[in-house]
Amino acid sequence: MNDNVLISVNNVKKYYNNGKIKALDGVSADIKKGEVVVVIGPSGSGKSTFLRCLNLLEVPTDGHILFEGVDITDPKTNINLHRRKMGMVFQQFNLFPHMTILKNMTLAPMKLLKKPKEEAEAQALQLLKRVGLEDRANAYPSQLSGGQKQRIAIVRALCMNPDVMLFDEPTSALDPEMVGEVLDVMKQLADEGMTMVVVTHEMGFAKEVGSRVIFMDGGKIIEENTPEELFGNPQSERLKGFLAKVL
């Protein structure tokens, strides 16, 4: 196996209702270090399921996923240890509403990495500064706008110093005027070399930031290519039809 591969997905299947629903129907893909892989496709095509399998929020029905060379689909693997290295950002932000922003960001580093409070807070403040929200450290999530919440969710994940960041439609729940501020943070992250897997409907982001685009439909990867090729020269009818609708 190539050392450059961070996550290797091998023929992964995810069935629901005893196989009546095939959310993932045999998906294989490699995510290499430093890549920004953008996943697109119609609603219900399995994008979220694919992403959530990568950190085992969904346990695949079949197939294997290797993260940094370890088979995380093996029941004997302690998934909690590997999830520390995989940040995830959700469509609905999922900030902890009973904690201040600072507590949201320092909880996991303090409990899991046993960082002293001062160190964890210093790191959190540093990250907050990067996204221009250092003055909201002691606010509660309910006091923030959607765009601010999502930026906090991103830096909360970054507090664990992950090796890869997974994004599931991070801008879909935002008012249009707030989409840009979140995409800017993601671009900045990509420029710094973070490995990212991004499920999104923002085709502009895919073209500008993506190193590779995966098009999914019906639980399968239909096409994958560089953004230029995938958008400029789609091969399958399904991708052509999809692009005609979204572009």
Binding site: N55, L57, V59, P75, N80, L81, R83, R84, M86, G87, M88, F90, Q92, N94, L95, F96, P97, H98, L107, A108, K111, L112, S142, Q143, R156, A157, M160
Partner: protein
């Protein structure tokens, strides 16, 4: 034996009281006999003390039991199918079955009967009645608190657990730091209500000779051959305590709502 109530009353009552119309005088004398003679008010105070102690510690036991039972139930119902560790799976399957039996039995039988079973059966050797009562009412209350907490946990958005797990926190850690604090905040008013319900439920403690408020009233009633007035007194005390706690709960609810924004 000291002097009887009527002797003592005649010697200490001011003259003008003795000269009141007969009905009014008798009423005042009854009050004297039921609450003051022989320091009988102390019996009510001690009884009330026992009632509040019993209620408070029973609720504590109930909350501890309730947290454990509800976590087992929720974990099994929500995550049992995807548990990958066979030991954990086996443990939760057994624990869940035990919890279900506990909930069914406790909620399906009268608390007085449970109290007597624990007293005369299981705890027959203990002579600490308040301790035994606390265990009995705690076990009873735990079943109701468990369902309360379970509904509190179920009301928390699933994304909260996922966010915790995606950071690498374990299931138990996510429960402890993320889910339970929010669930408790949501059910705090209902939990305070459970306290109020329990104050009244412990009134059956006298069945096993635990000297709670109701029992104190009935002892005074037996000694003074007057049932009506001591029981009115007991009812008034319960009512005042319950109204006080109801007022506190209302204040708490308004506070929580204000902090939500």
């Amino acid at each position: 034996m000291g002097p009887g109530p009527s002797e003592l009353w005649n010697s200490i009552a001011p003259q003008w009281m003795l000269e009141l119309p007969e009905g009014l005088h008798d009423f005042i004398y009854t009050l004297y006999k039921c609450f003051i003679y022989d320091d009988r008010y102390m019996m009510y105070i001690k009884g009330l003390g026992n009632t509040l102690t019993l209620t408070f510690f029973s609720l504590l036991v109930g909350i501890v039991l309730g947290v454990l039972v509800s976590i087992v139930r929720v974990s099994w119902d929500k995550h049992g199918q995807e548990m990958r560790n066979p030991v954990a799976r086996f443990f939760f399957r057994i624990a869940n079955a035990i919890c279900k039996i506990y909930l069914t039995v406790i909620r399906g039988t009268p608390v007085v009967v449970q109290l007597m079973i624990i007293f005369f059966g299981i705890m027959a050797t203990s002579n600490n009645k308040v301790l035994a009562g606390t265990i009995a009412f705690g076990i009873n209350s735990g079943a109701y608190v468990a369902e309360l907490i379970r509904s509190g946990i179920m009301s928390i958005d699933g994304g909260q657990m996922e966010a915790g797990r995606s950071l690498g926190l374990g299931y138990v850690q996510s429960m402890r730091y993320i889910i339970l604090p929010q669930a408790f905040k949501n059910i705090l008013p209902a939990l305070a209500n459970e306290f109020i319900v329990l104050i009244k439920e412990t009134a059956v403690a006298g069945y096993v000779g635990l000297a709670d408020l109701t029992y104190a009233g009935s002892i005074v009633a037996g000694n003074s051959y007057t049932y009506f007035v001591p029981m009115l007194g007991v009812a008034a005390i319960y009512l005042i305590i319950v109204m006080f706690f109801t007022w506190l709960v209302g204040k708490l609810e308004r506070r929580l709502r204000a902090s939500e924004r």
